[in-house]
C-alpha cells in the first residue's frame, strides 16, 4: 500500500522536470534534446544516490556492536596476537576514515573485500547467489504483474460488483498476511503434508542434488520453486491490482471512452484498445519501482524456504556480523532499487509524452 502511493506521488510531483527552452530545430529534434536533457538529469541523480548508498552501507554496519573477530574464533583457543593478526587481515585495525577511503576506492573497482566467515570475495559470493534470487524474483514478478493487471482490469470494469468486491477483498487479505507466516503454512500443508494432502512440493535449497541434468534438472528446480513463488505472488499481487484498478477507474469517465462506445465498438474492444493502455502507465511505473524492492523483500521468504539466494545470505551475514558481506548486499539491494527507478524514469516519457517534455 505504501509503495503504491509512492509510485503515484512520484508522478504527481509538481516540481517535475522543467520544460526545455525553445530550440531552433524542428519539433522532433527539440523533443529528442529535451529527452536527452531529462535523461541526463535522471542519470546524474542516480549516480548521486548510488554514492549516498555506498556511504550509508559503510557507516551503517560499522556501528553494529559485537566483535566479528571474536565471533569467528568463537569456541577456539586463540591468543591475543592471533586476534590482532586477524584484525589486520580484515583491515579493521586502522582508523575509521582510512577504512572508509579504502572502501570507497575498492568499491568503485567492484571490490567489496572478503567475507569474514566464508573468506571468499564478497563480489563472488553475491554473484554466485544472484541467479537463484533473480530466478525466484523474476518468476514471481512476472506472475504477479500479469495476475494483478488482469484482475485489476476486471475489478475496475465491473466496479462495485460481486467480482470486484471479492477480488479486492481477497487481495487485501493476502496483502495483510506476513509473508514468512504464509510460507510456513504452505510448507506445513504442501511440503510436509497434512491429513489427506500429501507432501507434494519439496522445499529447502533449489534442487534435490541427485545430479540430474537437462530437463530433469530444470523440472526439479521448478518443483522446488512452486511454494516460494506462490508465497511471493500471493503477498505481492494486491499492489498491482489496486493501482491498476484505481488508474482504470480514473480513465472510466473519460470522454474518449464515450466516443469509442458511440462509434459502436464492443465493450471488450473499448476496454482492451482504449482504456487499458492508458491505465497501464502508472501501473508500469509502480511495477518497476517495486521490482527493485522485491529483491530486498525476499529476505524472509528465502530464509523460510532455505532458498540459496541473496536474502538468505543477508540473514546469515547478519548473525556474525560479517561486515563486508552486509555492506556488499546492502549496496546491491539499494542499487537494484535505484536502477529500477531510473529505468522507470527513462522509459516513462517514451510511454507518456506528457512527462519529461
Amino acid at each position: 500500500m505504501t509503495d503504491a502511493s509512492t509510485g503515484t506521488t512520484a508522478l504527481a510531483d509538481p516540481d517535475g522536470p522543467a520544460p526545455a527552452g525553445p530550440s531552433a530545430r524542428g519539433p522532433r529534434g527539440r523533443d529528442a534534446v529535451a529527452y536527452l536533457r531529462y535523461g541526463a538529469g535522471k542519470l546524474l541523480g542516480a549516480a548521486v544516490s548510488l554514492f549516498a548508498v555506498l556511504v550509508t552501507s559503510f557507516f551503517l554496519f560499522r556501528i553494529i556492536p559485537g566483535d566479528p573477530v571474536r565471533t569467528i574464533t568463537h569456541g577456539r583457543a586463540v591468543s591475543e596476537e592471533q586476534l590482532q593478526a586477524l584484525r589486520r587481515q580484515f583491515g579493521i585495525d586502522k582508523p575509521l576514515w582510512e577504512q572508509f577511503t579504502q572502501y570507497c576506492g575498492q568499491a568503485l573497482q567492484g571490490d567489496f573485500g572478503n567475507s569474514y566467515q566464508l573468506h571468499d570475495p564478497v563480489g563472488e559470493l553475491i554473484w554466485n547467489r544472484l541467479p537463484a534470487t533473480l530466478l525466484l524474483t523474476g518468476t514471481a514478478f512476472v506472475l504477479y504483474s500479469l495476475i494483478g493487471v488482469w484482475l485489476g482490469t476486471r475489478s475496475a470494469w465491473r466496479n462495485g460488483g460481486l467480482g470486484d468486491r471479492f477480488n479486492t477483498g481477497l487481495s487485501l487479505t493476502l496483502y495483510s498476511v506476513p509473508s514468512f507466516w504464509l510460507g510456513l503454512m504452505l510448507i506445513n500443508v504442501f511440503a510436509v503434508g497434512v491429513g489427506f494432502v500429501p507432501g507434494m512440493f519439496p522445499t529447502g535449497l533449489m534442487e534435490t542434488g541427485d545430479g540430474s541434468t537437462g530437463l530433469a534438472h530444470a523440472l526439479d528446480v521448478a518443483h522446488h520453486m512452486v511454494l516460494p513463488v506462490v508465497t511471493l505472488v500471493a503477498v505481492g499481487y494486491a499492489q498491482t491490482l489496486l493501482v491498476m484498478r484505481s488508474s482504470l477507474l480514473d480513465e472510466m469517465g473519460s470522454d474518449y471512452l464515450t466516443t469509442a462506445r458511440a462509434k459502436g465498438l464492443r465493450d471488450t474492444l473499448v476496454r482492451r484498445r482504449h482504456a487499458v493502455p492508458n491505465a497501464l502507465l502508472p501501473t508500469v511505473t509502480l511495477l518497476f519501482v517495486n521490482l527493485g524492492h522485491v529483491v530486498a523483500g525476499q529476505i524472509l521468504v528465502e530464509t523460510v524456504f532455505s532458498w540459496p539466494g541473496l536474502g538468505g545470505l543477508f540473514y546469515e551475514a547478519l548473525s556474525i556480523p560479517d561486515l563486508p558481506l552486509l555492506q556488499g548486499l546492502f549496496f546491491v539491494f539499494a542499487a537494484g532499487v535505484i536502477l529500477m527507478n531510473t529505468l522507470a524514469d527513462l522509459i516513462y516519457p517514451l510511454l507518456d509524452p506528457r512527462v519529461g517534455r
Binding site: F180, W181, M185, I299, F330, A334
Partner: protein
C-alpha cells in the same frame, strides 16, 4: 449535546464567537464524514475488529493476568493440543496460547500505533515545511527524502534493529525512521496544492506569518490525508514488527505475535497448527483492519477511488 446547542443558539444568535462558529463547523463536518464512512461496509468491519483488538489489549491484565507469560509458572505440558483447559493449546513452555495471544495484542498494537505516529509526524513535518518554504531548504529536504525512498526499507529497519539494543523503542525507532518518506511526499504535494489557493494569499496579506499559515491553514487541510495515511502506515508497521521479531530482532522480554512465531520456528514446532496459526491470523487481521479503515477514509475523501463498499 443538543440542549447546549440550542442554548447557545438562543442566547448568542446575534454575536456568536468565532471559536464557537469554528467548533460548530467542525462538528458538522465530522458528522458528515461519519455519515459517508458508515456507507463503507468494509471500513465498518475494520473499525469493529480494531475496537475488539484494542479492548482485548487494554483489558489483557484483567482477562488473563500477567502470569500467563511466566515460563516458570506455566500450567500445562509443552505443546499440548487444544482441549478444555487450554482452548488454543500450549506453547513450547506449556503456557496457554490464548493468554499469550491476548498479551501479544498489547505489544503489537502499541508498536503499530507509536511507530506510525513517529513516522507520520516526521513525514508531516517534513512535507509541510518542504512545501511551504521553497528554495534550497525544500531541495535539500526532498533529496534526503528521495534517498530514503530508494533505501530498501526492510533491510534498513533490520540493520537499525540489529545495531541498537533490543527493546520496544528500538523497534519503534527502526520502523518510524524508515517509513516516513512516503508520507512526506504525499503531504508536500497536498501542501503545494493548498498553498496555491487564494485564501492563503489573503492570510498573507492580513499579516499571517509562516507558522500561522502552516498550522492554521495548511495543517487542517492535510489532516484528512494524514489520517488515511496513518492507518495504512500502522498496518505496515504491525507487519514489520512481526517480521523483525520473527528474525529474532525483537525485544525478548515481551510477548509479541512475531516473537511467538519465532519461538515456534526455533523449537521446530511449526507443524503444530495451534502454535503457528493463531499469531499469524491475528497479525493478518489487525493489518487488514487498519488497511480497510484507511481505504474507507481515503474513499470518503476522494470518492473517485470507488473503494469497494
Amino acid at each position: 449535546m443538543t440542549t447546549t446547542d440550542t442554548d447557545t443558539r438562543t442566547k448568542d444568535t446575534p454575536a456568536k464567537s468565532p471559536r464557537a462558529l469554528a467548533r460548530d463547523r467542525r462538528r458538522r463536518s465530522a458528522a458528515r464524514f461519519w455519515r459517508q464512512y458508515r456507507t463503507h461496509r468494509a471500513g465498518l468491519f475494520g473499525l469493529a475488529a480494531l475496537a475488539l483488538f484494542v479492548l482485548l489489549a487494554v483489558f489483557a491484565p484483567l482477562l488473563v493476568g500477567a502470569d500467563v507469560q511466566s515460563v516458570t509458572k506455566a500450567p500445562g505440558l509443552p505443546l499440548e493440543a487444544p482441549g478444555s483447559e487450554f482452548p488454543l493449546g500450549t506453547d513450547k513452555d506449556g503456557r496457554s496460547m490464548l493468554g499469550l495471544l491476548i498479551w501479544g495484542a498489547r505489544f503489537s498494537l502499541t508498536v503499530g500505533f507509536l511507530a506510525a505516529a513517529l513516522s507520520v509526524a516526521i513525514g508531516t513535518l517534513i512535507g509541510i515545511t518542504a512545501g511551504h518554504y521553497k528554495g534550497w531548504y525544500a531541495t535539500v529536504v526532498m533529496r534526503i527524502t528521495d534517498w530514503f525512498l530508494v533505501m530498501p526499507t526492510l533491510v534498513l529497519a533490520i540493520a537499525l534493529a540489529s545495531v541498537l539494543s533490543r527493546s520496544i523503542w528500538t523497534i519503534i525507532l527502526a520502523i518510524g525512521v524508515t517509513t516516513w518518506p512516503t508520507t512526506a511526499r504525499l503531504v508536500r504535494a497536498q501542501t503545494l496544492a493548498v498553498e496555491s489557493r487564494p485564501y492563503i494569499e489573503r492570510a498573507k496579506a492580513l499579516g499571517g506569518g509562516h507558522s500561522h499559515i502552516m498550522t492554521r491553514h495548511v495543517l487542517p487541510n492535510v489532516m484528512p490525508l494524514v489520517l488515511a495515511q496513518t492507518t495504512l502506515v500502522i498496518s505496515s508497521a504491525v507487519l514489520t514488527e512481526a517480521t523483525l521479531a520473527f528474525l529474532g530482532l525483537g525485544d525478548p522480554t515481551v510477548t509479541s505475535w512475531g516473537g511467538l512465531l519465532q519461538d515456534a520456528r526455533d523449537s521446530g514446532a511449526t507443524t503444530k497448527w495451534w502454535y503457528v496459526m493463531p499469531p499469524g491470523i491475528a497479525i493478518a487481521l489487525v493489518a487488514l483492519s487498519f488497511t480497510l479503515c484507511g481505504r474507507a477514509v481515503e474513499s470518503v475523501l476522494n470518492p473517485r477511488l470507488g473503494a469497494s463498499r
